[in-house]
Symmetry: C2
């Protein structure tokens, strides 16, 4: 871990040494933020270095990562997803410039692969033999997918209610899946106990400080793919808040390394039923449990596990937060697919729904340059896609029937 100097508690600001394993969280309960020796980072990572590096994965940013580009890293071909110009969607929203960071194009179809790759590479570097996590969704399928490539064993804890379709992907990759007769919180707690009992490495979001270090690479790529011109706003779907805090840390670290000269404003995009971060930002900054009920399962959270860092990131960026009802999320899935050909899961489409609201409300000016994170593929949740999609026209198999249909459509 060459340039990593400490893990700093976001609550009490105490610095822990990275070697003091397994330092997942501070004794005070605060999450940990990785610190780097930026003098050394600057010597190894410059615009000139990047211009000549043929590596088209997140490992091109190795000096700003907690683990080396090593043997296992080469198998974890994650990152460098497309940054798509979105002129048709921009015109629809009344925006001057909009780009989409298309994270659906990762090996397991979501941004979580960035977190999984770094967590796994750290686990291999530490000589761990098994990585565990509690999740029913993208974090688990990403961990299982990437671990299969490096030969790491994985155990995934899920609640009894976990949908069989989501379990299929995790099981197919060969993960051991433990379904507990109980809630998600009970699965999470059993995962913690099991890691202590058996010495497994714990990848849980918020708890493990290195998932954020993986997620921050999406900001490095946004900056580099825009020729180091930082956008005015970045729109980020928010559940646990770990992607948002990662996005912020990416821009902050890149500025500290001298690669960019300013920071963007962040828009936290939430579902109305899962709006703990939005409520905290509108109120006293404190996080309180909400129902967590939304069609956008990847950001359906009662009490965000990295919420403190997320609230701090939005405030530091002078950004904003917006929460939208599920109907607007489904409408945004359609709009995004029809204008830009991107098939997003509901959590990802939430970014577009909230961006639309923020422009309407004047929170984001129309002449701003905006990048929205499309965090996961719509293929992961075809049930929601069916709700958003509409229905086909059913006709008899002859040209006369087709002609009647076309005439009817033209009249409307």
């Amino acid at each position: 871990m060459p340039h990593l100097t400490a893990l700093r508690c976001i609550r009490c600001a105490k610095d822990l040494l990275p070697a003091a394993a397994p330092a997942y969280t501070c004794a005070c309960g605060g999450n940990l933020l990785a610190q780097y020796d930026f003098d050394r980072v600057r010597r190894e990572l410059s615009r000139a270095h990047l211009a000549t590096d043929p590596d088209r994965t997140l490992w091109r940013y190795a000096p700003l990562l907690p683990v080396d580009r090593g043997t296992h890293a080469a198998r974890l071909n994650v990152g460098w997803t497309p940054l798509l110009d979105a002129p048709a969607l921009a015109a629809h929203l009344g925006l001057k410039q909009l780009q989409l960071k298309d994270e659906t194009r990762h090996p397991s179809g979501s941004l979580k692969d960035r977190a999984g790759a770094i967590a796994l590479a750290v686990a291999h570097a530490r000589g761990e033999t098994r990585v565990a996590g509690a999740s029913t969704g993208n974090a688990a399928s990403s961990l299982a997918c990437l671990a299969a490539r490096t030969g790491m064993k994985t155990t995934i804890f899920v609640p009894e209610s976990a949908p069989p379709a989501k379990l299929a992907q995790i099981l197919l990759f060969g993960a051991t899946v433990i379904q507990v007769r109980g809630t998600y919180d009970q699965a999470f707690d059993l995962c913690l106990q099991a890691c202590q009992e058996y010495g497994w490495y714990n990848r849980n979001t918020g708890f493990n400080p290195f998932t954020r270090e993986g997620k921050k690479t999406v900001s490095f790529e946004i900056a580099e793919q825009r020729a180091f011109e930082v956008p005015d706003w970045v729109v980020v779907p928010v559940g646990d808040g770990n992607i948002l805090s990662g996005v912020w840390k990416g821009f902050v670290d890149f500025k500290a390394a001298g690669l960019i000269d300013r920071l963007p404003k962040l828009l936290a995009a939430q579902a109305s039923g899962s709006n703990a971060v939005t409520l905290a930002l509108e109120g006293d900054g404190k996080l309180r449990p909400v129902s967590g009920t939304t069609i956008a399962d990847s950001i359906s959270v009662s009490l965000p596990r990295d919420g403190e860092a997320a609230v701090a990131a939005v405030r530091e960026s002078k950004g904003a937060a917006v929460a939208v009802p599920d109907e607007e999320i489904l409408a945004a899935m359609r709009l995004l697919a029809r204008t830009e050909g991107v098939f997003a899961e509901p959590a990802a489409a939430t970014a577009i729904a909230c961006l639309s609201r923020a422009v309407e409300q004047g929170k984001i000016p129309k002449d701003a340059s905006v990048v929205a994170l499309i965090t996961g593929s719509g293929l992961k949740d075809v049930v929601s896609a069916m709700k958003a999609a509409g229905t086909p026209h059913l006709i008899d198999p002859d040209l006369a029937s087709l002609k009647r249909l076309i005439e009817q459509k033209e009249k409307r």
Copy 2:
């Protein structure tokens, strides 16, 4: 269409001029093969040109395509998928060298995006206003996805039995979906009639000569990503045979352009219930209808629509064909996911199941260099994934229950 000189009938060898639109198939019924002016191609496409071209899409091969890298092409960011080393799977199959061309990483999650991109770019170049096709699967979702990005209108004809989950993706992209009370063949026929009646551009596989021109770019990339060292064998899932004939044309065109100096052998990979090409190759070369019944829906075909070209390609390459039952396809889905972290749909896993058989039967020697095409994402068919995946372990939410489970697993 700068270097395209003619469309040659694969049955009667007659050359049609590309301007003689809409020349989909020859009057004799044979499919058409695009011909190029290779003297001109060589002046614009060399290893030196490619080494300095920053374009990481299939448009880097524009001199060997039937349409220019134009305004719409820039929006169709298809191609340059990863070629993954697969050492763990190679070891399992007893092969010295195996690579996977990971076509699951395309915008709509399948290799069909290559065909859709070229068909759409041709349609735009011809000034067409609507593209139609008959399909329930990857070809339709790819066309709808890419057309949304270029603003082209699309009409998709599907049989009444089309699964709602597959229709959802097509509908979400804004395609007009016509569901006919009848079979797939009736939907196909109505699509033909509608294109004649309304002057729409027909993208149907086999019928449209340019889908093959899109699919051939996968071979260009395999060659270039291997530093122009052609592999001994390429394994291709075969339904209609259009991907196989495209793969072969890619290597043939690249050799004619002086970019490679030899051709690979092709293994046609089929499901036992959909083995028309395999039967033709084992028999008199003639294609006869089969049941087309297999879990691998993307290669489930009664009479292959580009079967003649596929049979010719395997023979010219001195290759082979193998067909496997559905159980072996499901087992290959598991094997591929567990050894290499790639989640393939059944049609794509058929490549691995047939490769395993071909190695066992000595059709492919163990010291051969092999590339297998992983043609589509497993997320497109979660129902099949659930059949292949196995089941989780259900326990009470306490450490004692977990310990009992782990002890039982260790005893086994």
